[in-house]
């Protein structure tokens, strides 16, 4: 029970520390704003049914998520070791394993929260994208400007509210802004259900493509895997070295199928490298959604098993390394 409470306490601390970093808010806001602006800037005239908006949203989720995951993991552990707070914590009856696992769980929470924001933005962005609307009187392409504007303004409104709370109640700006952002996104999500594409009141219908959610979950799993890798590396390496290694692993994983042969014939070395290096292509399945396609939940389940196994294996290696690391 004591160990469980310790785990919870440290997990919470890690999450709070991560969301209080200004860079986290910057990355989240940038992801949401870019996702929201995309359908309003791209002038497609051929009825692509929001594919560009959807793919852009998922791509931004992945890209910004990578930075969130790798930087948060690098700086969380490396900074604690460097500043001496790790030694202050580990001098208490806290095991190193528990410390590392709680770091992973805390960062996982943060990644989940970020992904939730990115997913909501992608869903709404896809809804905003123009559709061919035909009535008995006229036909044309209609963009849901109202939802789009609400989505674009949400991050700025969140910062405004956080500014007010910081001014009057001295609450920390960054973490407050992030929490308010989540609330505002949920509100925008809900409110948009009461309006149609032209901004007129109608019966409640969110009009979003729920099939985007499995794609978003897959990306979240990829971010969790990268977080585990970054955390394990930062047990020994400094921030910069970990970031460079994560960058290298990301590039290798992205081109894994091409370089190490994928499912085709390959040498023993290539096979080993293919197995060891995480294949990010497994988690990028946006193309499957084209022309009304679906990502089956069974695939998501298998990806979950892959991500879970890979993260666990990486963390075990990180734990073994961390156990014998000097903490000054």
């Amino acid at each position: 029970m004591v160990a469980f409470n310790q785990l919870l306490t440290l997990t919470r601390l890690t999450a709070v520390e991560a969301i209080r970093q200004p860079i986290f808010l910057l990355l989240t806001n940038a992801c949401i704003v870019l996702t929201a602006v995309m359908p309003m800037v791209l002038l497609h005239q051929f009825g692509e049914e929001g594919k560009l908006a959807r793919d852009s949203g998922l791509a931004f989720h992945f890209l910004f998520g990578l930075f969130v995951a790798s930087y948060a993991a690098c700086s969380s552990l490396a900074r604690e070791i460097g500043s001496g707070t790790a030694s202050a914590v580990l001098s208490k009856p806290v095991s190193r394993s528990g410390f590392l696992i709680s770091k992973f769980l805390g960062l996982g929470l943060v990644i989940f929260a970020f992904s939730a924001c990115a997913c909501m933005s992608t869903l709404m962005s896809e809804r905003v994208a123009e559709r061919l609307a035909v009535t008995s009187n006229a036909g044309g392409y209609v963009i849901d400007w109202q939802t789009g504007w609400l989505l674009v303004c949400a991050p700025f409104a969140a910062m405004g509210v956080a500014g007010l709370l910081n001014y009057y109640r001295r609450q920390p700006f960054v973490s407050t802004a992030f929490l308010v952002l989540i609330v505002l996104l949920l509100i925008v999500f809900g409110v948009s259900g009461w309006f149609d594409r032209s901004g007129n009141l109608s019966s409640f219908d969110l009009r979003v493509q729920w099939r985007i959610i499995p794609a978003s979950i897959l990306i979240t799993l990829a971010l969790i895997v990268l977080c585990a890798i970054a955390l394990s590396l930062s047990a020994r390496l400094g921030t910069f070295a970990t970031l460079v290694c994560c960058f290298g692993i990301f590039v290798l994983g992205l081109l894994s199928d091409y370089w190490f042969g994928g499912t085709g014939e390959r040498s023993a070395v290539s096979g080993l490298l293919y197995a060891l290096i995480p294949n990010w292509q497994h988690f990028w399945r946006a193309d499957a959604l084209a022309a009304g396609g679906l990502i089956p939940w069974s695939y998501v389940g298998r990806a979950l098993v892959y991500a879970g196994t890979y993260s666990a294996a990486t963390l075990v290696l990180g734990l073994l390394s961390f156990r014998t690391a000097d903490i000054r």
Partner: protein, 453 residues
Amino acid sequence: MIGRVLAVATLTLRGAVRSRALFGLAVLLLFLMIGLPMTVKGSGSPASDVNVLLYYTLGCAWAVIMVATLLLSCAGISRDIEQEKIRLVAVKPVRKTEIWLGKWFGVLAMNAVLLVFVGVTVSGLLSWKIRSWDPATKKRLRQTVLVANRTIPHRPDDIGEDLERMYEIELDSIKEHGRETSAFQRKRIRGSIRHALLTAYSQVSPGNGKAWQIDIPRAAKVGEPMALHINFSPLSGEIRSERGSWSLSAGSDSELVIEDRIVAGMGNRIPLPDDFVSRGQTLSVRFENATGGSSVVFDPEAAIELRIRESSFARNLFFSLLVIFCQLALLSAFGLAAGTFFSFPVATFVATVLVFLSMTGHYFVVSEKSDVLSPVGVQPREQSVFHAVGETLVLGLERISGPALRLNSLVKLSNGLLVSLGSVFHAMLVVIGYSAVLTFISCIYLSRRELAA
């Protein structure tokens, strides 16, 4: 002053070396430069192998060094401020400018070391590859890729009169339907017509011909190996050969007629005698499409170009790396400036976003000119507010930083084109100019900033 700047520069370089950042980067670069050519295959020909080595491998190396430079330079001052190490430096008789310049030179020194490493490795890999090729292949490569060729383009097609005429017709047609056009829409219409005309002028149907003129500048090196490069495709889009004849003349003494099948696609080449043209002359080129074939379309902007050997590949590689060094110098100045204002992660974010926008803003300009989404005869849609604001911001940023960040020498190097001394000087001037501005702004802010909480 120099002593203090050098002291800070040495400190920065030492930090990079002892944090094993430099070593880690070198290992990553080595892995990339050896691994990438082994796995990324071109068309299998020696020329494409060399192209892969030069363009993709050097390009990846450049990208890695660029990311590392941004990270290190953003951390240069921001981490010292966050960790309060700058206190002990700031209380010494050293100016903020000296600290800033010292950090910058330290990062430049690291870049120089890495680029030398990259250059030596690429040269070594090339030498190793070349050894296995036969003499004829080596000779061909030394004329096409492993060389520094000066490119002389043809005179552009004169479409001015036709453009104005069709533009007036289009506007009158829109007015007749009772509609008005905004400045944005008129710009788009003009662009559409220009694009359509260039495309029409570039097409040569069977039984017809097209002529170009190439003006040889007085500074050109004559008496060196030269070739005419042609870029054309069949109208149907399939890659196959087309029969036609090429007539070239330069003055009364030089004439050449070639009748042959030339494979459609980019990169056709007609070698010319070394003394075919003289300085100040005009080379006339005429293509006759054989009857019974199909229409071909030439590249509207670069249908043909004369390439004359100007210098060696080694010199070209050196100058190319110098241009890359200048680019990295500017990036590091950017990163240091961001690190002066913001904390490390925020500085990295801001610098990355600005650099990304600056580098990709150019494509907004390109898409603006091509405007393939608005066919002639269709009034373009009015520009949305988002589009207008975004375009203004991005193009504005591109105009400011584009001249610096568009110094891309790798394309030229991998295609055997000359990276001139002029382009190196231009790159240096851009770096000095922009870096001076960034240094000035950053040092003013740094001197007004409290360095101890």
